[in-house]
């Protein structure tokens, strides 16, 4: 059967089981939007193309499926770049469709033309310019395959206007794509090596990362850690891959990691790092990172191995497959650990936990941001999907909201994109309409994509925004306080809109709390309302995130804030 390009596009999306698109129309995609008008595909009209990509990204992080966006050429396409780079840094599977001027005009500086495949080459896993109608269906199939296989990532497909109105035969069962084999099968010898290292280790530690969540390996990792009583710390992206309420959990490590996680890294004799890439925010100075340990690195991407940290045993492979093999190997060799073997190590960790717990001081008349997050956790019983913006709000969420399940902490880790949280929450809520979906935001970040309140209001996407409003670009201000003698250069955000009125102007409910005793009731009210709600919490202005490892320092050397903070 002969079909037009626009028809093939939606047929191909059905084949890929796409159930929602986030997008924004424009001249070059008028034909596609005309076809969309006639189809059953669900489409969410965002208010800025960056919002479309973050929403698709949030949807992908929460579901594990590929997120899809559709935007026009030129500025529509360039507006997606920050979103694409965000997904690329965190290995999130997306397919982004951009309109393009007709093939005959490409290179002529036509109206709304830009070389988007050129622009996004370094920040996509792969991208395509579809030059002829015959290539359309195979390209879409290949793009989805590339996005979700191996180390996942965003793929962009540029669609010239004339290609989309041309016709060709469409036969979905007969589309052949190139073999793109991304996964490696680890050698059995590696299992034996790891087994040997584990049996002789006195102070083993697991470090879990985003790769565990992406590979759906959380259950296996949890099984391994519990069975052999190995304590677990995680990177920001790894939060939720091991239950945060388990006694073996040490919390996040790194620059704003817990005292006990960073101490455990510094004292362990075996570090099993799974699905991580040893970002500089995690390791502190490389020379002293896990200096007493043999390091095992399990990751699907060979280019992550020995990139930042030299490792003793690299195991390249899908983390789920490797953990499965490892558990099987240990069972076959009847490995059992002696409780006495762990006693000293677990005892030491318990001592660290008791000495410097994560804490803050909620006294006086000012709301502490950590208190808002803890109260939110208490009220939702942790049964919520949390997105964050970037900065202090993100770090406090990582520290004070306990994540028990994978895919429930949705945050821009690698790129650190302000403005991510609200559109991402919209994407998450589209996938999980019956779950509490909360964006924990800062007053700086939220203003970067505040226009998406209109999207939430239009479609009644009932996301909740918990705004930790301190009137500063808080994390930058914290660095200025600590390292630039309190010269607060352009971080004061006191000149800001009245967020309650702003919410109302968008058709969203706005609530405000200014005193600690109002926090719980405002949160209760906000969570119970059946509509999008922005809750403006006026929090302590100069609260800092602690512990903090100073940039370039060893992670065992932490600033803990004032004694009042830790007591």
């Amino acid at each position: 059967m002969k079909l037009k390009g626009t028809q093939i596009l939606f047929k191909a999306l059905e084949e890929e089981k796409v159930d929602i698109i986030f997008g924004y129309p424009g001249g070059a995609v008028l034909d596609i939007y005309d076809q969309l008008y006639k189809s059953d595909m669900k489409h969410i009209l965002v208010r800025h193309e960056q919002g479309a990509v973050h929403a698709a990204d949030g949807y992908a992080r929460a579901t594990g499926k590929v997120g899809v966006c559709l935007v026009t050429s030129g500025p529509g396409a360039t507006n997606t770049v920050t979103g694409i780079a965000t997904a690329n840094m965190d290995s999130i599977p997306l397919v982004v469709f951009t309109g393009q001027v007709p093939t005959g005009l490409i290179g002529n500086d036509a109206f709304q033309e830009c070389d988007i495949t050129g622009i996004t080459r370094p920040c996509t896993k792969h991208n395509f310019l579809v030059r002829s109608i015959e290539d359309l269906a195979p390209t879409i199939k290949e793009a989805f395959h590339i996005a979700r296989s191996g180390r996942p990532g965003p793929v962009l497909i540029d669609l010239p206007k004339n290609v989309m109105v041309a016709e060709t035969e469409y036969d979905p069962l007969n589309i052949k794509i190139r073999n793109y084999e991304a996964a490696y099968k680890p050698a059995p010898k590696k299992m034996a090596n790891l087994f040997e290292m584990l049996t002789s280790a006195k102070r083993p530690l697991i470090m879990t990362g985003g790769g565990v969540i992406l590979a759906k390996a959380s259950a296996l990792l949890t099984q391994l850690a519990r069975k052999y009583q190995i304590p677990v710390t995680g990177t920001l992206m790894g939060l939720g891959s091991f239950p945060g309420s388990d006694p073996l959990w040490l919390g996040m490590l790194g620059m704003h990691g817990t005292y006990y996680a960073n101490m455990a890294i510094s004292h362990c004799d075996l570090l099993i790092a799974v699905g991580v890439r040893f970002d500089d925010r995690v390791t502190g100075t490389i020379e002293t990172f896990a200096a007493n340990a043999k390091i095992v690195h399990i990751d699907i991407d060979p280019s992550s191995i020995n990139k930042n940290v030299a490792v003793d045993l690299p195991i390249i492979g899908d983390t789920q497959a490797v953990l499965k093999d490892l558990i099987k190997f240990m069972d076959e060799h009847n490995y059992t650990y002696e409780a006495s073997q762990r006693q000293e190590w677990l005892g030491q960790i318990a001592e660290w936990k008791e000495k410097v717990p994560l804490t803050y001081c909620q006294n006086g008349k000012v709301i502490k941001p950590q208190f808002v997050i803890e109260t939110l956790h208490k009220l939702t019983k942790g049964d919520a999907i949390i997105t964050t913006e970037v900065g202090q709000n993100q770090m406090w969420t990582a520290q004070f909201f306990t994540f028990d399940n994978p895919n429930t902490f949705i945050s821009s880790g690698g790129l650190g994109t302000m403005g991510f949280g609200l559109p991402a929450a919209i994407g998450v809520k589209c996938a999980f309409p019956d779950k509490h979906v909360v964006d924990i935001a800062g007053d700086g970040s939220i203003q970067m994509n505040i226009q998406e309140l209109a999207t939430a209001a239009q479609y009644k996407i009932n996301v909740k925004i918990v705004l930790l409003n301190n009137g500063y670009l808080g994390m930058v201000r914290q660095w200025q306080e600590l390292f630039y003698e309190k010269r607060y250069s352009h971080t004061d955000m006191t000149y800001a809109p009245d967020f309650v009125k702003l919410a109302e102007a968008f058709g969203v409910v706005g609530l405000r709390a200014t005193k600690p005793e109002e926090v719980e009731s405002i949160l209760k009210q906000g969570l119970s309302l059946d509509c999008p709600v922005l809750m403006d919490f006026r929090v302590s202005r100069e609260e800092c995130v602690y512990p903090m490892v100073h940039p370039g320092d060893s992670i065992s050397n932490m600033s803990l804030g004032s004694r009042e903070m830790i007591n």
Binding site: R121, P122, H126, D301, P302, S303, I305, N306
Partner: protein
């Protein structure tokens, strides 16, 4: 770690922007390409790229891994550590000035270099060889006044396959 020249052979899908992807991957990560040679193989849809880069073994391993991440890259081999043959072709234009004319002719005769264009006022030589032969030729020709030169960059063939 010791830095040296590495010859990397890459098989890629013959796509319009594959070279841009490879150059961008290396440039974006701060690695320099010293020479580059690209052409289709016996299969039109597959191209072979031979490039040289200077770095420690550690750096070159990283480069290889970065290249392998690219969807259009099929195979990457570092030919420096395997048995392989290397050749480069250079075209050299020399002006036959009165004072150098005899010296040039003598050098060409002695070394059996191939003259591909011979005019009254200039000659063009075609010289092929491995690295040491090319280095030798350049050292001899330099004092005679090279007016223009074009080099293909190194091509290489893996003998272990």
């Amino acid at each position: 770690m010791e830095k040296k020249e590495h010859i990397i052979s890459i098989l890629v899908h013959n796509k319009p922007d594959v070279l841009a992807r490879i150059a961008g991957t290396l440039g974006g990560k701060g690695y320099n390409i010293e020479s580059l040679c690209v052409n289709a193989t016996t299969q039109y849809e597959i191209s072979k790229i031979v490039m040289t880069t200077v770095g420690s073994q550690e750096t070159v391993t990283r480069i290889e891994n970065q290249l392998r991440r690219l969807v259009d890259v099929i195979q990457v081999d570092d030919l420096t550590n395997v048995e392989s043959i290397h050749r480069e072709l250079i075209l050299v234009l020399l002006n036959l000035t009165a004072d150098k004319k005899e010296q040039i002719k003598k050098a060409v005769d002695t070394n059996k270099w191939k003259i591909i264009v011979s005019a009254d006022t200039y000659i063009i030589l075609e010289i092929t060889g491995d690295q040491s032969q090319i280095d030798f030729a350049l050292a001899r020709l330099e004092p005679l006044g090279i007016a223009d030169i074009t080099r293909t960059g190194i091509i290489a063939l893996n003998l272990e396959n």
